[in-house]
Subunit: 364 residues, 2 copies
């Protein structure tokens, strides 16, 4: 994603912060490698290192950093690095499990963790069947994901945050974790059930993305600088519409994105029958014939490239993508207005504006 | 399990403690139910309540309680209830994910969480295919398991433990969590790969059971009463051999147990080709013909009841079950000797002896 990360115009050194988080995570995972001569313990940190090396936007760490600045950037900056790294490792957990649940083949342009582990397990041993290797891959990926969650706790608790600060962070972290699980659950429940229900799709996005990806990271960073509830509420007024716009952009990219740029398949969302605002609006505006075709195809695991191309054509013909673009623009403006009213420190406000801009226009 | 839970002979009110933990968990999960008129939020706590209601030995909570007594039972007893409930909820997480990984059908005599969720998802809607329902069930069970882990953190942090106590508990909890993931990973890696390697099987059991089920719960309870490293080490000398015996009993029950009593299939371990000390010893002592049959059958997902009966017969003929019984008896004696040397408070010692007795002789 072309996140305009730093430069004199923002004032905040987002690139520097991101690098610090990367280094910190790399060190942490290096410490988790089994010592030499350990009797053949598998290196369970290796898949996590590889996953992080493959890229990612680091949007949650960056928002935590900006949230910290929004609240005055007081206190030990290392606490924010711990917090940001912990958020990213938690996100790795969520993505690895998400890929297992969706049986996704690609993530960040590389084989997903369960696919890579399945392949490694099979290796050159013809005695391991493809089915057994796939089963191993999924089980092992569930465990590696679990470990990422365990370690994201550990990493935060290694920080020098004082007990009161930690208690305040945990309160919001627990809310965030329950919210993302609920969002994922609602998503899973709706998957394969194509429906014109826009409010259901919006609700999924609110939990899965608006709160988890934007609001909570900002809150957590702000709490690390001792923010009060009033500031947290003001940040929410910015974060929630931006987060919805983020999800809507994601929905568009999932169907119309270039796999070479997104690193994800452009067929999967259609094949899974993901319940998005995009498909809900398309079903609402479709002619009876279009609607029949979409209902048949959305959620068909054997959807061909040709059928997908026709489905995309129909979706465009309904006007749904243009409607979604309009909603994104509206949400973006709402978020911008919140910034203007927000009386946030100038540097934080600029950074949030740049991030909002990048997040809503991105192509990956 | 016929855990001799209380009675004047032990001195510790294990039953009372277990009931307190049950009540506490029930209250906690009730609080997690969505409020009435919530717009149709799914009750993600319900599968966890049902899982806990289906039974279980509560061995980890009980050991935490005994560990607390072993260290003098000082400090706020409610902290131990929080800790024990947190351990049990973490265990629920581990079992739900374990059942997904193993594709198990039954747990505690009821359909596993992923099976129950798949069935509920399909409901009376003939539009949902069996494959789609199964996919939903596994995905949803992964999420419900994740939530159990999130909530096990939350529950512990709601306790009144002071920051120093919490920091000491977290240190061991993190070790425990990494250990169980490693144990599960080693187990998964070896599954389907029948081998006479006893030391590999022992290593799996050490991480998966001896440390996770016995040693760490005792340590954690002891830490809640301010135990020093010296006491923790003394508890390990008891816990590790007992934990190994526990795993060995589990291995025997997995193949020879009565499903009506264990609540689990007696075919699954054979069909999965679990790498246990039992099968390793059987392969070591088998004649070439027996070994060929076992190698063919262990890990065959289509193993019939008849073949399983023959496999059990072969395993008995190799003398492996008797050898495993001997190892169990040896480990039991080692654990008992540790108790005698341990200078632990008398009531804790008695409780540990009763638990060791029940754990190594159990039929479920």
């Amino acid at each position: 994603m072309a996140l305009a990360l730093s430069g004199p115009e923002t004032g905040l050194d987002l690139t520097g912060f991101r690098d610090a988080v990367e280094d910190f995570l790399a060190d942490f995972l290096d410490r988790k490698a089994p010592p030499a001569g350990n009797g053949g313990s598998p290196d369970l940190a290796a898949p996590l290192r590889q996953f992080l090396d493959a890229g990612g936007k680091r949007i949650r760490p960056i928002l935590a950093f900006v949230g910290w600045h929004a609240a005055g950037a007081t206190g030990d900056p290392r606490t924010v690095v711990h917090l940001a790294a912990s958020l990213e490792l938690f996100h790795v957990f969520a993505l690895i499990h998400d890929d297992v649940m969706d049986s996704s083949a690609l993530r960040r342009g590389r084989p997903t963790v369960h696919r890579a582990l399945a392949r490694a397990h099979q290796g050159d041993d013809s005695g391991v069947s493809a089915a057994a290797a796939a089963r191993f891959g999924k089980g092992a990926a569930i465990l590696i994901g679990d470990l990422a969650m365990v370690w994201s706790d550990e990493l935060l608790l290694e920080s020098d945050a004082n007990p009161d600060q930690l208690a305040a962070l945990w309160l919001v972290l627990h809310a965030m974790r329950s919210e993302i699980v609920l969002g994922q659950y609602l998503d899973l429940q709706a998957t394969g059930d194509a429906s014109p229900d826009v409010s259901r799709a919006l609700r999924i996005g609110r939990y899965k993305t608006a709160k988890y990806t934007v609001e909570r990271p900002l809150h957590l960073g702000a709490i690390a600088a001792g923010a009060d509830q009033h500031l947290l509420d003001r940040l929410s007024v910015f974060a929630l519409p931006l987060g919805e716009a983020f999800q809507l952009r994601d929905d568009l990219l999932g169907v119309f994105g270039d796999p070479a740029v997104t690193g994800k398949s452009a067929l999967e969302d259609l094949r899974d029958g993901k319940a998005t605002v995009l498909t809900a609006l398309a079903l609402q505006a479709a002619t009876p014939a279009q609607r029949r075709a979409l209902t048949d195809w959305l959620g068909d695991p054997h959807l061909t490239d040709e059928q997908a191309a026709v489905a995309r054509h129909i979706i465009v013909a309904t006007g749904a993508p243009a409607q979604v673009e309009e909603v994104i623009a509206t949400r973006f403006r709402t978020a911008m207005n919140a910034l203007d009213d927000g009386r946030l420190p100038c540097a934080a406000r600029r950074a949030l504006r740049d991030i909002a801009d990048a997040v809503t226009r991105r192509t990956t």
